[in-house]
Amino acid sequence: MVGPLLETKLHVPRRRRGLVARPRLLERLDRGTEAALTLVSAPAGFGKTTVLTDWLTSVAAGQRPVAWLSLDQRDNDPAVFWTYLVAALRTAAPGVGAGALALLQSPRASTEAVLATLVNDLSASPDDVVLVLDDYHVVDAPEVQDGMSFLVEHLPAQVHLVIAGRADPALPLARWRARGDLVELRAADLRFTADEAAAYLDVATGLTLTTADVAALEQRTEGWIAALQLAALSMQGRDDVAGFIAGFAGDDRYVVDYLVEEVLARQPERVRSFLLQTSVLSRLTGPLCDALTGRNDGKAMLEALDRANLFLVPLDGRRRWYRYHHLFADVLHVRLQDELPDAVSGLHRQAAEWYERSGDRAEAVHHALAGGDVARAADLVELALPALQKGRQEATMRRWLEALPDEVIRVRPVLGVGHAAALMVSGRVEGVEARLRDAERWLSPTPDGAEEPPAPPTEMVVADEAGFRRLPSAIAMYRAGQALLSGDVAGTVAHARRALDLAGAEDHLGRGGAAGLLGLAHWASGDLGTAHRWYSDAASCLEEAGHVSDVAGCAIALADICLARARLGEARSTYERALRLVTPDAGPVLRGAADVHVGIAGILTERGDLDAARRHLLVSRDLGEHVGLPQNPYRWRVVMARIREAEGDVAAALGLLEEAERRYVGDYFPEVRPLPALRAQVLARRGRWAEALAWAQERGLSVDDDPDYLREFEHLTFARALAARSAAQGDARPVSGAVHLLARLLQAAEEGCRTGSVIAVLVVQALAEQTRGDVPAALAALRRALALAEPQGYVRVFADEGAAIGALLRAVAAEDAAAGYAHRLVAALGTGEDDVPAPAGLVDPLSARELDVLRMLGSDLDGPDIARRLFVSVNTVRTHTKNIYAKLGVTNRRAAVRRGEDLDLVPRPRDRPDRAAVPDR
């Protein structure tokens, strides 16, 4: 993160003096801890923070550890927001969030992975914790709001969440209200009642006010606490209190405006000018105030204001940092603009300079922008770019860059390219090329072949010299990335080669990135040998640069390429090498380790060693998501689906593949085995050819298509489904159409040296010929496949075909040279056919939602009832139910409930009234 973590944001605000006891509100908050969420929603100055701090120090709430987070504008960046939220939780529950923090620092983690890790930690935590998010209304970034929805939906029972703010949060509140999981304090509750107003004025002013006076004040302020506070201040030391009240009550000016004027008029000039000048600050500390006022009494002034209760909120226990009450700050600021309009930008610039000196770049940028000091802001942003990129703060990066005038970015090539990078990382293509072109004008005044560009009108500005030297290569690399995203393989290669040529010898990261892009481009075009060479280069550059997790990413690509070329042994040793890198003897396991185990499991599965494969998957799961790349959750499920299919549990395999689709996270890898096609393949093999053909139709596949590496697996699956249909209907016509397609696929795979594909095509060809009745052709194809596959120890590519290929394999086993291998494969067929083993434990745990459904399955509710309770459609409930059955290995509701009970999947009833009625078993 750019800038230090501000401890003050995690500090429970100190209890203020002169409080009126408000037992009715505290009782309500106490009751709130039985629900999951408490919402304190009211405009500024309604005492939200005060009532919360009051409650937290009260006896009932005092038992629980409290995590407090005061939010501000800068928390609209997911990287910043979640870092603070985890830091806050760790103040209350020190054991949680280490994994989440590690993920937050990793450039490739999804927010969902961060939160899943955090939720797991919290649900394992022994203690309850109250998490308070104050000023939540400042959060408007959709990425943050989405993450909050996820967190709230998966919140473990140990966490009680309190959200306070001026507007209702964008969360599914209605649903929570309906479930009784929401307790609210709103403006109507928070307003001072007439009695509370009287009690407050009594304490705060020390005056004996008449009932009529109190009533007039209460009416004029409508119980608004901030206004009553200001009124009390205005009355202090005044002779003519009755006159003041009459004047106030008879005026219809904005209450705060009127009262602040009254308060300011009664302050000495020194105090008045201090208040106005420092009103530009969102946080105040003595030396910072001195920088703005040019005086040296900042610390003393703040202490005096604090004592006089002049709307200063202490932010820490040591009285070093304060802020003004929001309402007061706004009114002061408007007065400053009115009285000293020319001073405003100068004050901001002073603040920017002070923050820059004290190393808080984020605040410095904020004030430089507010003060119109664009040059300083641009310098600061440019210098902060590497840290922002490393810390994944793309949202902050975009916000800052978009606050700078276009003409400033255009003369700063480093900033321009930084903007292009920020756009690309957020998946936006628009505007990237223009930024790159702008930056390029400063590098080469006449790009070859282009028309004479207009001479740049002004001077170029560079703050980050090292970043400037890397620009030529970086620009070419971003172009390569753009080209790859748009499917332009030739363009990717051209730009990536240029990036490689331009990268300095020491720029390992740049060289590795360019080599990786070249590998990807050749992979996508099916040229696997070249792809493999580039990827090997990329891996050694990245290792040199110390980016070990990216080396693991390269290993996955290299192994995938090896598999396509039928080099199972080489794929295995590639993974073993990577595993040694990411699991060093000393120090923590590094990111990518979980992925490598999944890769090894995939190879073991193909070779038929299902037990060993399963062990690697369990190791991967135990390592946790924080040592996995974003793609790992779906890749894990794909391998597990293959294991389940091999064991004959087709329903489980299909369920896992569906889940993999939901967890799918794309990357730059070419999608050579798309998930829907994998699913269709299972369906086709298991006689469900109609569903498989429906998929093929949806994909627009035709037997007349030209071969294309990226669609190879889809075409092969389509042919398999046609063969299945012919076999089932006793009609050779469907499969006859596929024979020519298979011949073309075979030729293309042979030409591309994709031996892995050749084997798979030959297997389907053998089945197709058998179905057509040409047994000699079928045996010939199978023999070729066996000859290629035997040295690498393939099993499942044959065995998964089950009974369909059994006769052919037995025929080969009876006579051939390959007889021994064929015998082994015949033996492997057995597992797939009859017994469906019951799952020993839950390999694939139920999701939170599925657990909800499972619990309701144990009740008398029917499907539509469950749907209504969960606020989802009946279809969704059906899907959940199907998945639950698949995961539990059962086929009906009763069995599911019994199995769920045996596995202890339904948590012990907690002290919630609706569950207390459930008798313990």
Binding site: F46, Y254, V256, P341
Partner: protein, 78 residues
């Protein structure tokens, strides 16, 4: 870059926002130069030209942050 002028041409229009209570004219700058008029019923009328949706929401947020009662929002010339 999204300059303020760029987005405002096509999708913007004039809005009238009515607030409870009188706001001093000095608040005009706070509301990005909108016009403040006091009505006889004790309310204040904020009028702004060429506000697009994002700018309108920005103004409403400022109203919210002052704790001023929001009485009405009307589009003047669609």
């Amino acid at each position: 870059m999204t300059k303020q002028t760029a987005g405002r041409s096509a999708d913007s229009s004039r809005y009238e926002i009515r607030l409870g209570g009188h706001l001093e004219p000095r608040w005009a700058a706070w509301f990005d130069g909108m016009t403040l008029t006091h009505a006889d019923d004790g309310s204040t009328l904020l009028t702004g030209c060429a506000l697009d949706q994002a700018a309108l929401h920005g103004v409403l947020q400022k109203v919210r942050d002052l704790g001023l009662p929001l009485l009405a929002v009307a589009q003047l010339d669609p």
